[in-house]
C-alpha cells in the first residue's frame, strides 16, 4: 500500500506542478499575443479552452494530495469530543463515508465521460471529445477514495496532520 501511495503521490506532484506552469505560460502567451499579435491572435483562440480544461484536471488531480496533507477544509473541533462521548469510531465512519461518496462520484463521472464520448460531441476550438472533461472528476474522486481507503486501513494518518489528538 505504501509503495502504491508513494508512486501515486510522486506522479500527482509532478503532474500538477507541470500543469500549473503550463497553464501560466499558455495563458500569459495568450494575453501577450492578444495585446501585440494583431490578427495573429485569432489563431490562438483555443488557448482559453485548453487552460480551463487543464485547470479542471489540476483541481481534481490535486484533491487527493490536499486530503492526505490535511488541507481539505473540515470543522474538526468537535470530532474528538463526539467520538469520546458517544464511543463511536468516528474517524472510521468519516473514512467509510468518504470512500462511499467518492466512489459514487467517480462512478457517475465515469458514466458521464462514457456517455459524452458515445455522443461524439467535440469541443468547438480543440476538436477533441468533451468527454475528456469528465475523466478529470472520475480520476480525482478515485484518488480521493484511495486516500480514504488508505486512512481507513491505517496506511496514512490524515487526521493528526490537523494537529488533532487520537480518538
Amino acid at each position: 500500500m505504501q509503495r502504491l501511495l508513494s508512486g501515486v503521490r510522486l506522479v500527482e506532484r509532478i503532474s500538477v506542478v507541470a500543469l500549473l506552469l503550463t497553464m501560466t505560460v499558455l495563458f500569459a502567451f495568450n494575453v501577450l499575443i492578444r495585446q501585440f499579435g494583431g490578427p495573429l491572435a485569432a489563431s490562438f483562440g483555443w488557448i482559453d479552452e485548453v487552460v480551463r480544461s487543464l485547470n479542471i484536471f489540476l483541481v481534481f488531480l490535486a484533491s487527493g494530495l490536499a486530503l492526505e496533507s490535511g488541507k481539505q477544509v473540515a470543522v474538526d473541533t468537535w470530532r474528538n469530543r463526539i467520538a469520546r462521548r458517544s464511543g463511536l469510531p468516528l474517524r472510521r465512519i468519516l473514512d467509510a463515508a468518504g470512500i462511499i461518496f467518492c466512489l459514487y462520484m467517480a462512478w457517475i463521472s465515469g458514466r458521464m465521460a462514457a456517455f459524452v464520448f458515445g455522443t461524439g460531441q467535440v469541443s468547438a476550438t480543440l476538436g477533441i471529445s468533451t468527454g475528456w472533461l469528465y475523466v478529470a472528476p472520475c480520476a480525482g474522486f478515485g484518488l480521493l477514495a484511495l486516500r480514504y481507503v488508505a486512512s481507513f486501513v491505517g496506511a496514512i494518518e490524515r487526521f493528526d496532520r490537523n494537529g488533532e489528538t487520537g480518538e
Binding site: F27, V31, R52, I56, V75, L94, R111, P137
Partner: protein, 427 residues
C-alpha cells in the same frame, strides 16, 4: 418545507461531526436530488460540477494564489512594507500604521488574508513589540489588518461572489477598494488610541533621501499593484489576465531581479498554491451542484414568499443576513459560507431592491469578520502557527478589533453609498 429542514439538519450534523466540507455540501446535494428530483439522471451532478468551474473568470484564482505564494516567499512583501514604513513610521505608533498599510499593500497584490498574515506577521510582530505595543494588541492588529486583503482588489472572495451572482468583478473590485480603505482607517483609529495609551514611540523621521532610496529599492515591487489595478481599470486586462500577468511579473522579479527564489523553491511554492486551489475549486464544483438544486427546488422563492408574508423589509433582512453570516463565519471557511448562503440570500436581496455590489460588500465584510472571529476564524490559526503563539492569546488581542469591525459592518450595511461610490466614479 419539512424535507428542506431535514436536509438543513443533515448538513449541520455532517458539519459538526467533522466531515470534509466538500461532503457537507455534496451529501445534501445528493439528498435534495433524491428527495425532490429523483427522475433527473444522476449524470447531472458531474455535468453541473464541471460546467460550474469551467469558467475563464475562475482562472484568476489559481493565478492569484500562485502570485501570492511567490511574493510571500520572496522579497516583494517586505519591500512594499518598507515603503509604508518610510512614509508613516515616524508617527507615534507608526509601525502600527505600517502594519495596516503593509497588509493593504500586500492585499492589493495577493487577495488572500491568510497569505497576508503569514507574509507580514513574522516581519512586523517583533517590530510592534519593540516599539512598545502590548503583546495582545500587536497580535490582534496583525490578524485584523490582514482582513483588508479580502476586500482590496484582487480579492478571491469577491471573485467567488461575482461568479455565484454574475456581478461585474471590476465593479466589485472598485467597491472593495473603498471598503478596504474604510476598514484600514478604522483599524488605524484604534491603533492611534492604543499608541497614546501605551506611550508607543515612532521611528526617527526618515530623510527625503532615505525615502527616495526605499522607493527605489521597492520599485519593482511597487510595479505589481500598478500592473494589476492599472491593468484592470485601464481596460488593458480582464481580472483573469491581470492574475496571470501578476504571476509572470512575480516570477521575473523574484527570480531574476531579487534572486530570492530558485527553480526548486518555485516548484515547492507552486505545489502549495495548487493544493489551496484544489481545496477551493472542489468546494466550488460541488457548491455549483448544490446551488443548482437549491434553485431548482425553489428554496429562494420560498424564502422570498416567507419574508413577504412576514413583511420583512431591507433593514431587517440585512440584519438577518449579518447575523447568519457572523454565526456561520465563526465555524465555516469563507468559500463554503458563500456557497451555502449566497445562492439562497442573493435572490431575496435583489427582490428587496438592494444593489448587487452593495450586497457583495456586506457579504465580503462579513466574511472578513469571520476570518478573525473566535473560536475558529482561519486567520487566528494562521497567526498562531506563523508567530508560534497560543490561539487563546491571539483571540484576546482580536476583541477590540471585532468591535471596530462590527461598527464598519453596520456602516457598510446601512450606508450603500460607501460601497457604490467608487464603482460609480470609475465605471
Amino acid at each position: 418545507m419539512i424535507l428542506v429542514a431535514a436536509i438543513g439538519v443533515l448538513a449541520a450534523v455532517l458539519l459538526i461531526a467533522g466531515f470534509e466540507m466538500f461532503m457537507v455540501l455534496g451529501i445534501p446535494a445528493l439528498a435534495i436530488k433524491a428527495g425532490f428530483f429523483a427522475s433527473l439522471p444522476d449524470l447531472i451532478l458531474p455535468q453541473r460540477m464541471t460546467a460550474g468551474i469551467n469558467q475563464t473568470l475562475l482562472l484568476a484564482i489559481p493565478f492569484f494564489l500562485l502570485a501570492a505564494q511567490l511574493m510571500g516567499q520572496g522579497q516583494i512583501a517586505t519591500r512594499l512594507t518598507d515603503v509604508v514604513r518610510a512614509l508613516v513610521g515616524h508617527l507615534r505608533g507608526g509601525i502600527g500604521y505600517t502594519t495596516i498599510g503593509g497588509a493593504m499593500g500586500f492585499g492589493s497584490v495577493s487577495g488572500s488574508a491568510p497569505a497576508t498574515v503569514a507574509a507580514l506577521g513574522k516581519i512586523l510582530y517583533p517590530e510592534l513589540r519593540r516599539v512598545g505595543f502590548r503583546d495582545r494588541f500587536a497580535l490582534g492588529l496583525i490578524v485584523s489588518s490582514a482582513e483588508t486583503a479580502l476586500l482590496i482588489p484582487p480579492s478571491i472572495t469577491l471573485i467567488v461572489y461575482g461568479w455565484i451572482t454574475g456581478t461585474s468583478i471590476a465593479a466589485l473590485f472598485a467597491a472593495g477598494l473603498g471598503v478596504g480603505v474604510i476598514l484600514g482607517l478604522a483599524c488605524a483609529v484604534l491603533t492611534m488610541i492604543e499608541a497614546r495609551r501605551s506611550g508607543v514611540s515612532g521611528d526617527p523621521r526618515a530623510r527625503l533621501a532615505e525615502i527616495g532610496s526605499t522607493f527605489r529599492r521597492a520599485g519593482w515591487a511597487l510595479g505589481m499593484p500598478v500592473l494589476i489595478l492599472g491593468g484592470i481599470y485601464s481596460g488593458l486586462f480582464t481580472p483573469t489576465e491581470a492574475a496571470v500577468m501578476s504571476v509572470v511579473y512575480a516570477i521575473f522579479v523574484e527570480m531574476v531581479i531579487y534572486r530570492s527564489l530558485d527553480l526548486k523553491t518555485l516548484a515547492k511554492v507552486a505545489e502549495q498554491a495548487i493544493i489551496q486551489n484544489a481545496v477551493i475549486f472542489l468546494l466550488l464544483a460541488i457548491g455549483t451542484a448544490l446551488s443548482f438544486f437549491i434553485t431548482l427546488a425553489q428554496i429562494p422563492a420560498t424564502l422570498i414568499g416567507f419574508l413577504d408574508e412576514m413583511q420583512v423589509g431591507p433593514v431587517v433582512f440585512l440584519m438577518i443576513v449579518n447575523v447568519a453570516f457572523i454565526i456561520a463565519g465563526m465555524f465555516i471557511d469563507p468559500n463554503s459560507i458563500q456557497l451555502m448562503l449566497v445562492p439562497a440570500l442573493y435572490p431575496v436581496a435583489m427582490h428587496l431592491g438592494l444593489d448587487p455590489v452593495h450586497f457583495g460588500m456586506i457579504v465580503a465584510v462579513n466574511i472578513a469578520l469571520g476570518m478573525v472571529t473566535p473560536p475558529f476564524g482561519l486567520d487566528l490559526f494562521v497567526a498562531s502557527s506563523t508567530l508560534q503563539k497560543p490561539v487563546t492569546e491571539i483571540i484576546a488581542g482580536v476583541w477590540p478589533f471585532l468591535v471596530v469591525n462590527l461598527v464598519v459592518l453596520l456602516l457598510i450595511t446601512y450606508v450603500p453609498g460607501l460601497s457604490t461610490l467608487i464603482p460609480d466614479l470609475l465605471l
